[in-house]
Symmetry: C2
Subunit: 147 residues, 2 copies
Amino acid sequence: MKRDSRLSSVLHALLHMAEHDGPMTSDVLAQCLGANPVVVRRTMGLLRNAGLVSAARGHAGGWRIAADLNSVNLRQLHEALGEPAIFAIGNRNENPQCLVEQSVNAALEDAFSDAEALLMTRFADVTLADLAQDFARRYASRRDVKE
Amino acid sequence: MKRDSRLSSVLHALLHMAEHDGPMTSDVLAQCLGANPVVVRRTMGLLRNAGLVSAARGHAGGWRIAADLNSVNLRQLHEALGEPAIFAIGNRNENPQCLVEQSVNAALEDAFSDAEALLMTRFADVTLADLAQDFARRYASRRDVKE
DNA sequence: TTATTCGTAACATATAAAGTTACATGAAAC
DNA sequence: GTTTCATGTAACTTTATATGTTACGAATAA
Ligand code: FES
Ligand code: FES
């Protein structure tokens, strides 16, 4: 299965934007991510719909963050992306008449929903500001190594 | 992404086999699951490699469970299937030089590995015997409704 | 008026799960 | 021993979905 990497992508883009003055264009972000500008627009458009970023057209246009880094967490971003399916493993048949399949599905769904709940809790706990700080720490320690 | 439904499939097959005397052929299981006999052989073959089922060829051949229902849990089955990827969401680039991406990946992997650990714990807690019992309960309560 | 940039539809490609065909191998029935 | 039944597997096809690409319209500033 091909994994959905949009959350990773938008995080990368947002952190890049956080470290950058002024708007960044889809083309620049796409080059940064090793992705396609249209895909960037498509994906960032979802964040725009959620009010997390704003877009401006024309000269000196592009994307900028429209929220406080402290107030945006990973869960919000996941939601802004439409809450895509988290698991690559699933039930064969979601609406089985067969009682055996019902038992199987119930057991699996129990386990998966617990794991999903934990993941969402972890996501809610990490803000863009946290990531920016982690980046700053990594940046500083790399400079230490160089010196 | 297309979700991997093999765990669900083999559980369905195993419970069916648990309720059934004698071996069951790939064709019968496939019909039960609404799947393909070759896919059944392919998938059950992994369980055979793990010693969980045995296969016999020729007349009166087929698959049978080769372990105590109490001693087989969902985690073992997941492992027997080759521990396929659990998440449909992932990092864009697993080996980034970019420090921003490193921060993003680290944060996401933290959250995902916690969720995966919880899922594996839940899986380890559910045995085939548990599922068979749950099935028996559902079967009984359906008969109650009918009467 | 021109250059730039987003917005979006339509189509193309890539990847992986599941399905399918084909045939070899082995075991029981006759 | 020959036939029938069943697994074992390789090779290929289909299907689903994420991502990429092309094309063009709309808005905005130089
Ligand atoms: S921050 Fe732009 S390439 Fe990673
Ligand atoms: S148990 Fe065979 S169809 Fe569900």
